[in-house]
Amino acid sequence: MLEQVAKFCDWLSLTPVSQTIQNVEWIIPMVQSVHIIAIAIVMSSVLMVDLRLMGLVGQSQPISGLARRFVPWVWWSLVALLLTGSVLIAAEPRRDLLNPVFQAKMALLLVAILVTAFFQETVRRNMAFWDQSPSRRASAWLTAVASLTVWIAIVGCGRWIAYVEHG
């Protein structure tokens, strides 16, 4: 499996697309900047929702209102992140695909997507879901902590890809 990934990396890095990204000096910094801006949108949106779920910020607004305002921005930013991320992978496939930190980041991303989709679905079915009982409020707190932890870990992994030795 790993060998096939390595072969794929070597094939990818020799394609004209990859060669262009590697050779045009401004592409990687620019794509990374767009990547960071999309991360800014995701993280601030997630933070607004999660702090509200924890009962810390924005009590004047129902959770369902915040979900409608912020969750779509998370999904659209994720699309931008996947696109810009793919460009960065195409530039240096081995640096990412064979890197354990990158692999951890993708696994965490899957968890973050599941948590976000779960949250969105609960609010879509029942707007008052999270306010219904004290035990629900405890689960709201837990969901928020899980979501924040996973997203912060994703950003952390993203930065450490550049610093960790690998294949």
Binding site: P29, S33, M43, L47, M48, R69, G158, R159
Partner: protein, 165 residues
Amino acid sequence: MPFLQSFCQWLENTAVGQFISGSTWAFPTIETVHVLVLVIVVGSIAIVDLRLLGVASNNRPVSQLSNDVLPITWTAFVLALITGGLLFSSKATHYLGNWPFRFKMALLALAGLNMLLFHFLTYRGVSGWDDQRVTPRAARLAGFLSLAFWTGVIVFGRWIGFTVR
């Protein structure tokens, strides 16, 4: 500017500066925190900017949204300042002479000036347009400039990493 130059030389030679530049893990760790807090600074400011521009959160009064968001912004900004200062101390003279770093600082100053003008002039009359989707022209301009300046801060900030070695 000889004063800045000697200040940066002094900073690099402090125990903190020496420790960060000499350690293998300190710089990436502080940088990770810097990235985490700076995305929250820019993202949370953008939430208010987009409201001023009538793009998002239009069902909420501007003042209420600002009161919810800005404490988060300020907390993250203080942490960004501290972590940024620590990163700077590891190679102060290199950063001082680095043009993307200088542009970033100039844009930060412009973003600060824009915020002050908005806060002390335009925002004083907020009660007149608090629930309106279309805010006064000065407020929309402030929102637009803020988005532009902070985007620039991110672009030049990222560029520093490609030019300082």
